[in-house]
Amino acid sequence: MTHRSVEVPVIARVEGEGALHITVDGDEITDLRLEIYEPPRFFEAFLAGRHFAEVPDIVPRICGICPVAYQMSAIHGLEMLFGVTPPEGTRELRRLMYCGEWIESHILHVFLLAAPDFLGYPNAIELAKVRPDLVKMALQIKRVGNDLMAAIGGREIHPVSPRVGGFSKAPRRRDLEAFLPRLAWALEQMPGIADFVASLPAPAFPRPVEMVSMVNEGEYPMNEGSMASTDGRRWTFEEYETITNEVHVEHSNALHSVMADTQTPYFLGPLARVNLNAERLTPVARECAERAGLHVPEVDPFFSMAARVVETALAIEESVRIIEGYVPPDPPMATAKPRAGRAMWATEAPRGTLYHRYDVAQDGTILQAKIVPPTSQNLRHMEEDLRLFVPDVLDRPDEELTRLCEMVVRNYDPCISCATHFLRLDVERR
């Protein structure tokens, strides 16, 4: 019997650090571990004892790619607990800021992290040598997202203006209107990008999955709503921790999430959101789905890249709509008076649902915090994907096997800094 061991010591082009070990005896996988060696940073522990107003400055530091998601889940939860209603216009401005993050994060993933695999390049810089126009165009769209975040938040990585109660300062109408021509240009590029993604040679990997996303009346979900799954489960943010469970496994500094009743994994992120919210897509987003061949229900995780393109178009269309109707909130924020109790909220980070819970004292001191990032919720599902995927490609040489495994993992755009926050592949063949 042949023994084979495949080791990917550093999973490249993912956010954060992880490795993959696979041991194969004959054609049976005897061990498969997605190891998260990104060191723990203990955010939940040191949040305890800090003042609530500091939370929007602490939690974005969990992730440099999706800082807005962390700020939003925390701020909404605390406002709900305190009974604060932010000034009129805040809701739309927050959604616009989130659109900026979706654009920036999705384009970063599609072009800089994922596309090079499909075309056989080690990175986007090499891809840019062959397709300079494509990469430059993508980088310009990404820049629009980054600039939107900075125009609202002061800077795109760890924005400073979002506060419990609103924004410390709201951008001027003319500063946002200046984005309209750039957004119009970016939107024109999207159908072509959908065609490009459709042209990439991807393995077919349909498999039964339970997908989970937020849903909200009348809009594609970002900041508000409740939870839904493709198996028909429905729950509120308050029920999040009873419907799902986190389990700790030895090879990972990130916790894994499963459904509490069935102990089965679930799948979050852009593909889940499109599946559960297809009727709320905007017109160009719909066109992109059509061109990329993404028809719901779509259960193949390799359609995640197409879903990111669809959502980028949606975020651009939403940005245009919001800016056209923008009136700066005045005053920019409401006073938040703390109240003792428990804050629970989730928002849709680019990678999927991000849940926060805070127990707060009467004087506004955080007593306990719990943060459940999308990547840790997806980890169990990623391992299961690999278990199902690897047997079909075991005949490939180690180098190609490694690349294919990394692609399976990258479908999730894992953000390992968040999950502990990814891949050394270690295939041991016996």
Partner: protein, 266 residues
């Protein structure tokens, strides 16, 4: 004629959020230009092509936080001609250094992880310079993209990069922003924090919270602490202003410790 060899550049990450190396990916056009002038031979977040050392210039993000990283940083130093640490984590331990000197590390592990024996973590989060000599430190949470690209460009020319070390307060006056302490009574670390952000927080009507760490001459942190108390903060709340994103940097650490002693009279 043989073309001159391009400098070999590596980017490594320790305990961090990826935000500082993301500044490189966010540099977009400049990234492609830079890629023409250097060989990025080891940058796991951006490329699956990874070459072993030695490296001419190495950028390190993140703090030393596990026993493995203590080893790894020594190996990286040995392979690197010039070692540049980027960001608050690499230069002062980062926000995760809030666990330092609490005597509560074990409790922290238990708070976050149900099975603490699976987790290998050091009691304190350390700046890189605690372990190995560092040639250049670029502070900030995140590091400023302009400073980072400027420093790389200077190193490529063989020049010594110059980084501004004046306080945010000076930058604020230069830009003509209204003082948030005077106008709004907001506690602000601007007088003692080095600039790099462009006085970002005062520009959006809030006090500075110290992302770039203490200015070269951190000035009178005692007087600033007293001013915070006059503005209505308790000594503990005033201490927490210093004990934050760059709270493990020596000047801020001392300031917060002094204020905490005030809170707990002997």
């Amino acid at each position: 004629m043989i073309a001159p060899k391009k400098p070999r550049v590596a980017v490594f990450k320790m305990a961090s959020c990826d935000g500082c190396q993301l500044q490189l990916l966010d540099a977009e056009d400049a990234l492609l230009e830079l890629a023409g002038a250097i060989d990025i031979v080891n940058f796991a977040e951006a490329s699956s092509h990874i070459e072993p050392g030695p490296y001419d210039v190495t950028l390190v993000e993140g703090s030393v936080s596990t026993p493995q990283q203590e080893e790894q940083i020594r190996e990286i130093r040995a392979e690197s001609e010039v070692l540049v640490t980027i960001g608050a984590c690499a230069t002062s331990g980062g926000v995760q250094a809030l666990r330092n000197a609490t005597g509560r590390h074990e409790e922290f592990v238990r708070t976050v992880y149900p099975t603490p024996e699976y987790v290998a973590s050091l009691e304190d989060s350390h700046p890189i310079a605690d372990y190995v000599p560092v040639d250049l430190e670029l502070t900030g949470c995140p590091v400023d993209r302009g400073q980072l690209l400027g420093a790389i460009a200077a190193l490529l020319r063989g020049a010594v990069p110059r980084v501004s070390t004046v306080p945010v307060c000076v930058e604020c006056k230069r830009r003509g922003y209204v003082c948030v302490v005077v106008a709004k009574g907001e506690p602000c670390l601007g007088p003692v924090t080095r600039t790099g952000c462009g006085a970002l927080c005062p520009s959006v009507d809030r006090g500075c919270y110290g992302c770039f760490g203490p200015a070269q001459e951190p000035g009178n942190t005692d007087a600033l602490g007293r001013r915070f108390i006059e503005l209505g903060l308790s000594p503990r709340e005033a201490a927490d202003r210093f004990r934050f994103i760059t709270g493990w940097a020596p000047a801020f650490r001392e300031a917060s410790e002094d204020l905490r002693r005030e809170e707990a009279p002997a």
